[in-house]
């Protein structure tokens, strides 16, 4: 039934917002445990790809499979819920729930959506806070945390759902340079733990060090896809060369 043994399989997806075609036929497959970085200029459709994978944005055309879920066939939120349990997402603006503390933010979805036991979830949430080095901030509200701390809580919140895949959408873009490091360190540990990650990022150095594969997108297409050493040191496509020439 599945076309390949990849965990995530995307084939020929197209998406338009009004007259503007953001994705013009994106194909990508991701193996279990793989960390894939998507780089490219602003407006090239990077974030849209992530949002198509977990169904936040419906696609116009194409095929998306995550595990056993055929995302392109899902019509409503209810059908997407099992998918959302499997795929977590971390956002550029953290998007924590402002009326709940850090600990509650992590516990909410496992208790309220998955129906897990509250005490068990709390233990899990505290362990995750420890993992992201924020144990002492359990009782703080998002408004009392720095950007980097909020982002690490958001990562812990994603992990609490026990996802198979985490989508990272420019998670360091809103942070100041010192705090970027602590967030990247957290992500690096997840990749080393073998969690499947797809990261949209502008951190070229990080993409190079952490990912198994880098995809360069431009104007709605994946122009080039290769292991980081190849893509950064020996880019094949002139557009990749031009982009890397500007950012490196």
């Amino acid at each position: 039934m599945n076309r390949s043994d990849a965990l995530i399989e995307i084939d020929g997806i197209r998406k338009s917002f009004g007259d503007f075609q953001v994705l013009k036929g994106i194909s990508l497959s991701v193996q279990k445990g793989e960390a894939v970085c998507i780089i490219g200029p602003s407006g090239s459709g990077k974030s849209t790809i992530l949002r198509c994978i977990n169904g936040l944005i419906p696609i116009d055309e194409g095929f998306i499979r995550v595990g056993d879920h055929r995302v392109h066939e899902m019509k409503n939120e209810k059908q997407m819920r099992p998918l959302r349990h499997q795929v977590a997402m971390v956002f550029q603006q953290y998007n924590l729930f402002p009326h709940r503390t850090a600990l509650e933010n992590i516990m909410m979805a496992p208790v309220q959506v998955l129906g897990h036991d509250r005490a068990e979830v709390e233990a899990r949430a505290r362990a995750l806070l420890k993992k992201v080095r924020l144990s002492e901030k359990a009782g703080s509200y998002p408004g009392q945390l720095s950007g980097g701390q909020q982002q690490r809580v958001a990562i812990a919140r994603a992990l609490a759902m026990h996802p198979e895949v985490i989508l990272f959408d420019e998670v360091t873009a809103a942070l100041d340079p010192e705090t970027v490091k602590e967030v990247l360190l957290t992500i690096r540990e997840l990749v080393e733990d073998g969690l499947t990650c797809i990261l949209v990022t502008h951190e070229m150095k990080f993409a190079r060090e952490v990912s198994h594969r880098v995809c360069f997108t431009d104007r709605g297409l994946i122009v080039e896809s290769a292991p980081p050493v190849e893509l950064f040191d020996n880019p094949q496509d002139p557009r990749t060369r031009e982009f890397l020439g500007q950012v490196l």
Binding site: L56, R81, A88, F97, H99, Y141, G143
Partner: protein, 238 residues
């Protein structure tokens, strides 16, 4: 003092009237405030469903009851509805009497008027919800209802609380207009007393103080609620 004569206040009949007036004012305000909140919540909830005809219906309701004077609404409810046939025959006297009492008419009119304003207040709270928060909730697998009750509503409630305070204080003061359709609330008894005693200035001064005191209790309670519900980064939170 200042030539003011409050000797009538010693009369137990007038004391009784004032007390009854205050109680009826509180009763009318409480009933219409609670009903207005419920209407506001239901209306705003209805608007989140984004159904074309329901939206049109709720917006029509808001336009009608927000854009007409509450006094007119009460007069309409009191005189027109009974003329239109909302009457019952009193079994003891055999006379035809209006189905709705003056108090009921005033309660209904004020509830609908306050409800129309409350719908707009709640809607503004829900509409200003950052889209990113909704996206986060969806990505965590929240369904529509769970998302609304667990995330959107608690945040929206905090955002719209100040405008809600405004609506409730206005509604409280508007109860005084119910005296026109003979609801025996504070303003009504005030009229009775100065018609009796001709001490118009004295009676009005006292009524003014009573209204200030009652509304202050309300605004104080709402301010406490706002402080209690505040969370860091929003409104009164630190």
């Amino acid at each position: 003092m200042f030539g003011l004569d409050y000797s009538w206040l010693a009369d137990s009949a007038y004391q009784q009237w004032l007390l009854m007036g205050v109680l009826n004012t509180l009763k009318l305000a409480a009933i219409s405030s609670i009903a207005a909140m419920l209407i506001g919540m239901l209306g705003a909830l209805g608007l989140t469903l984004r159904l074309f005809w329901l939206d049109a219906l709720i917006e029509l309701f808001v336009e009608v009851f927000r854009n007409t004077p509450p006094l007119l609404q009460m007069l309409f409810a009191y005189f027109t509805l009974s003329t239109l046939g909302l009457k019952v025959t009193d079994p003891s006297t055999g006379l035809s009497v209006p189905l709705l009492s003056a108090f009921a008419c005033a309660s209904i009119a004020l509830s609908l008027f306050g409800g129309a304003l409350a719908i707009e207040a709640f809607r503004s709270g829900i509409d200003t919800m950052p889209r990113s928060i909704i996206e986060a909730a969806r990505s965590l697998g929240y369904g529509r209802w769970a998302r609304f009750w667990r995330i959107e509503a608690p945040i929206a409630a905090r955002i719209c609380l100040p405008s809600l305070t405004n609506i409730l204080t206005n509604l409280f003061k508007t109860t005084s207009q119910a005296s026109v359709i003979t609801v025996p609330e504070l303003m009504y008894y005030a009229g009775q007393i100065y018609n009796d005693t001709f001490r118009t200035l004295e009676v009005m001064l006292l009524v003014l103080v009573i209204y200030v005191a009652l509304v202050s209790i309300l605004t104080f309670a709402m301010a406490r609620l706002e402080a209690f519900m505040a969370f860091p980064g929003y409104g009164k939170g630190h």
